[in-house]
């Protein structure tokens, strides 16, 4: 009886270990993005890695618009650093020289490159949920990777409101491609009532007001059925209001 209990205990510990192992940081996931597409509508591939420290989370990504086997220099290298010491949390975005997903605090200055695209067009609230293309013929996800992504997405969700680092406003003054567009029209907020439940500036669910410059992302999220989330719905009038906003009115 004692032996059986001991064996069961060891089995449970092993199972927990197997479940927990993928959740440790410094591991990489390779996937085809469900949302990002190349200019020609082709697949976009991402390698994502998460580094955890007491004060910050670092999310790094290699991204290829040239297929899953593109040469190393053709993969963009990006990073989002979430400062966990602040409330609300603050995110700093980087476009880095192509290279491996290794975070070296001392090499950041010399590796930083101008943005190729304005991050804020998609990133209203720091890192976004990772959405792999489940039907990808190039990179099917393993069970371990699915489990890892689920955990990462939960972690990202639990950040709550994440504001962009104010340094981006300063850098934008001289940037050819700004972190965000600063004009009044591009920053008009989305005021559809059901969206405001989360996409506002304060409260437990706050994710930040959505802006007109994010219309392409909003359109994708609504058309793909990701938004509004389960339990929420757009009324007929809200649908019309949203459609007008997405048309620019």
């Amino acid at each position: 009886m004692k032996q059986a209990l001991a064996a069961a205990f060891v089995l449970i510990v092993c199972l927990l270990g197997l479940l927990a192992a993928p959740l440790l940081d410094d591991q990489e996931v390779f996937l085809e993005s469900r949302e990002s597409k190349t200019v020609g509508g082709g697949p976009v591939f991402n390698r994502i890695k998460w580094f955890n420290s007491k004060d910050k989370d670092v999310w790094m990504m290699n991204q290829s618009h040239h297929g899953p086997h593109a040469e190393a220099t053709a993969w963009d290298r990006l990073a989002i650093v979430v400062d966990k010491t602040k409330t609300p949390k603050v995110a700093r975005f980087y476009q880095l020289k192509p290279g491996p997903l290794e975070w070296d605090e001392n090499a950041i200055e010399s590796s930083t490159r101008p943005f190729r695209i304005s991050c804020f067009l998609c990133h209203n609230n720091g890192p976004r949920a990772i959405r792999p293309n489940e039907r990808s013929s190039f990179g099917p996800l393993s069970l371990t990777d699915r489990w890892k992504i689920t955990y990462w997405n939960l972690r990202i969700k639990l950040y709550g409101r994440v504001k962009p680092d104010q340094v981006h406003d300063q850098l934008d003054r001289s940037a050819q491609t700004p972190f965000r567009f600063h004009g009044s029209f591009a920053n008009e907020p989305l005021r559809v009532a059901v969206c405001l439940t989360c996409h506002n500036e304060s409260g437990f669910l706050a994710r930040g007001l959505l802006r007109r410059q994010q219309m392409a992302t909003i359109k994708f999220m609504v058309e793909s059925g990701e938004m509004p989330p389960r339990g929420f719905g757009l009324s007929g009038e809200e649908k019309r209001e949203l459609a007008r906003f997405l048309d620019g009115f």
């Binding site: 949302e35 990002s36 991204q63 029209f185």
Partner: protein, 127 residues
């Protein structure tokens, strides 16, 4: 000197491009023709609405907002009381990492406001 000359030429090119920019807009029942350089004593643009056999032309003045990413033009129709106007919004066709660029083209939509009524159109820019 060369730079100044190039800048001047570019300026002239852009100005002439803008001056001749027209839009042709459609919805399922009507069409709109927008001429931005239609100068009259009281206006600098004309908008012709064609609804079946009926044609109506409005004259107005353009106010443009260009945020680099998004461009908005409002043509307030004479007698400029804000009751009747056309709003044109141009945005990139595609947007996302690496794909929100000039090569992806743009989309222009129009909102014709006539009193309380709003009529929406999809437009083509005809340089």
């Amino acid at each position: 000197m060369m730079k100044a000359a190039s800048a001047t030429l570019l300026g002239v090119f852009l100005a002439s491009g803008a001056a001749h920019a027209d839009y042709h807009c459609l919805n399922k029942d009507m069409s709109l023709d927008v001429k931005e350089n239609h100068m009259t004593r009281l206006s600098n643009a004309s908008v012709t609405l064609i609804n079946g056999e009926q044609t109506k032309t409005f004259y107005g003045s353009i106010e443009a907002v260009d945020d680099f990413l998004l461009q908005k033009k409002v043509i307030d129709f004479y007698p400029y009381q804000g009751e009747e106007m056309l709003t044109l919004v141009t945005r990139p066709k595609f947007c996302g990492r690496g794909s929100c660029d000039d090569g992806g083209g743009t989309v222009t939509n129009a909102d014709l406001k006539l009193g309380e009524e709003h009529i929406y159109f999809s437009c083509e820019w005809k340089p």
